[in-house]
């Protein structure tokens, strides 16, 4: 079949690898969006800007404070996650009793403000973030040379995604989160402080976005607009996986990264829209998403 398209197995495997790298970022971002949507019922439009903020905070830690990649990988999610907690506590919380569209508008406004702030300071041109020393070089996979850092992105993202899945699906804290996603009122009437759970969940979702941004800094240019396109793709992925579904977000994130890569091999012109085509088909055939529960 490959002969029909006149492509080599090397090309296919190479694009699958690139797809997995992009998919790593999609999965981290859609996972955070799905968790936030599940519990807060808010479509967090600020997600792309917070991803960008993660990359920039990492860049600033390096350039202004001399804090390197590995420490930044821990500090960036903590710092940006704390900003998320402040946003939830003082802004988003005020909108829980009104229509969900207000939450979307608020987070969209926050995204525009963060992006404008960084555009003002740094302009559109990107900043370079160096690959950490021990992850320099390439790995010979026989069908391609994979930069070690990009291999690390796939591994680290998979570990973080699976750990998050485990935390939510298999632990006591996760059972609070799942129950509160279904019926927050009743969970609170059982003696659990749901407002704190909501604040921490938003903070954790934002921290995941910032982690993705920090991981992306050495791969892409650190630019104020880096989150603008990816947030749209990630929304489509969350819809495909099923709004609020944890495993759906992870599988769809990696899966659609690969689908996008394969499209680049067989029909490159469609590679930038294939995710939206898949979204349209999923919405027609299974509106609750691949892993979503029927409403």
């Amino acid at each position: 079949m490959l002969d029909v398209f006149d492509v080599s197995i090397q090309m296919v495997m190479g694009q699958v690898a690139i797809g997995l790298i992009n998919g790593s970022f999609y999965a981290l971002l859609s996972l955070g969006l799905a968790i936030i949507f599940g519990l807060l019922n808010i479509v967090n439009f600020a997600h792309g800007a917070l991803y960008m903020l993660g990359a920039f905070v990492g860049w600033m830690l390096l350039h202004y404070l001399g804090i390197g990649y590995w420490l930044a990988l821990i500090l960036v999610p903590l710092l940006v996650g704390m900003l998320g907690i402040i946003m939830e506590r003082f802004l988003i919380r005020k909108l829980y009793d009104v229509d969900h569209i207000y939450g979307l508008l608020l987070t969209f406004g926050i995204a525009l403000m963060i992006q404008a702030l960084f555009l003002n300071i740094f302009g559109v041109s990107g900043q370079r973030y160096p690959v950490p020393e021990i992850l320099k070089g390439t790995l010979n996979l026989s069908f391609m040379y994979l930069p070690i850092y990009r291999g690390w992105v796939i591994v680290a993202s998979a570990i973080v995604c699976l750990s998050t899945w485990y935390l939510i699906e298999r632990t006591k804290l996760g059972s609070y989160l799942r129950a509160a996603t279904e019926n927050p009122e009743l969970v609170q009437a059982f003696g659990i402080r749901v407002p704190i759970l909501i604040t921490l969940t938003y903070g954790a979702g934002v921290a995941l976005a910032a982690f993705a941004g920090m991981m992306a800094a050495p791969v892409y240019q650190v630019s104020p607009v880096m989150g603008v396109d990816i947030v749209i793709i990630v929304f489509a992925i969350v819809v495909i996986g099923g709004m609020g579904s944890i495993s759906g977000a992870i599988v769809a994130g990696f899966g659609l990264g690969v689908v996008e890569g394969l499209t680049r091999v067989f029909y490159p012109e469609a590679s930038s829209v294939v995710i939206f085509v898949v979204m349209a088909i999923v919405l027609l055939v299974r509106p609750s998403g691949l892993f979503g529960k029927a409403a």
Binding site: E185, V187, F190
Partner: protein, 245 residues
């Protein structure tokens, strides 16, 4: 006689503009089983939600153990030892039976140990790893009650535990409530089934159109069941309304 464990005075509760409960006053003494009995829409469930703090738009005094709890949030009220079993049972579909059982935090040292819970509800132990909502209606009701007993709550709010269940399951639930009563648990039971209620309760308050219109001792109900039935039966009231017109 000691002060009542729960003392509700002049309770008014509303959803938005519509006032569902008005000027309801009643009390529950330590160790008693008391029912709120009345037809659908009379305000019984709303009263439980108001006591639990789930419904915030309420006025009047709600005292529990001598303290005013009306300004507390529902999680604080739960931690005072009030356990809530809602009408729709509130079993979570994304949690296993075991996770449902273990969900509410333990609130006192009177918590029922797991082995005792399993001997009281043998079906639950067999289904621990099932998805919560795969249980039958009766099993879900048992799980909703077991879940609260594990927390050590000493005052239970049970909202229509028999609704939609087969007679044999209703008997099993009655047996469980008798065991709890014998252990000294205080229970406020919302019911429409007066035969079930009269097996268990010490006193009954009749709810009608959002307020309490009558109080009966259980002996009065046992001696003359029809006087309670007439408050529950839709047909009789329609006749009355007809004769008024």
């Amino acid at each position: 006689m000691n002060d009542p464990l729960l003392d509700v005075q002049n309770l008014t509760a509303r959803y938005g503009e519509s006032q569902v409960v008005h000027d309801a006053s009643f009390h529950v003494n330590q160790g008693e089983v008391v029912t709120l009995i009345g037809r659908n829409g009379a305000g019984k469930t709303t009263t439980l939600r108001a006591i639990m703090g789930v419904l915030r738009t309420r006025e009047g005094s709600i005292r529990f153990g001598g303290n005013d709890i009306s300004s507390l949030s529902s999680d604080q009220i739960a931690r005072r030892g009030i356990g809530y079993v809602p009408e729709e049972r509130g079993i979570f579909s994304s949690l296993t039976v075991k996770e449902n059982l273990m969900l509410p935090p333990v609130v006192s040292d009177k918590a029922m140990p797991l082995d005792e819970i399993y001997s009281l509800f043998p079906n639950i132990q067999e289904r621990l790893s099932s998805q919560g909502t795969n249980l039958s209606g009766g099993e879900q009701q048992m799980l909703a009650m077991a879940r609260i007993l594990r927390t050590g709550a000493h005052f239970l709010l049970l909202d229509e535990p028999t609704e939609g269940l087969a007679p044999i399951i209703i008997d099993a639930i009655a047996d469980v409530i008798k065991v709890l009563k014998a252990r000294g648990t205080t229970i406020l039971l919302v019911e429409q089934n007066s035969r079930f209620a009269s097996q268990l309760a010490d006193r009954h308050y009749v709810f009608q159109d959002g307020t309490i219109v009558k109080e009966f001792t259980n002996q009065e109900v046992l001696d003359n069941p029809t006087q309670v039935e007439r408050y529950l039966s839709v047909e009789v009231v329609q006749e009355e309304e007809g004769s008024d017109a």
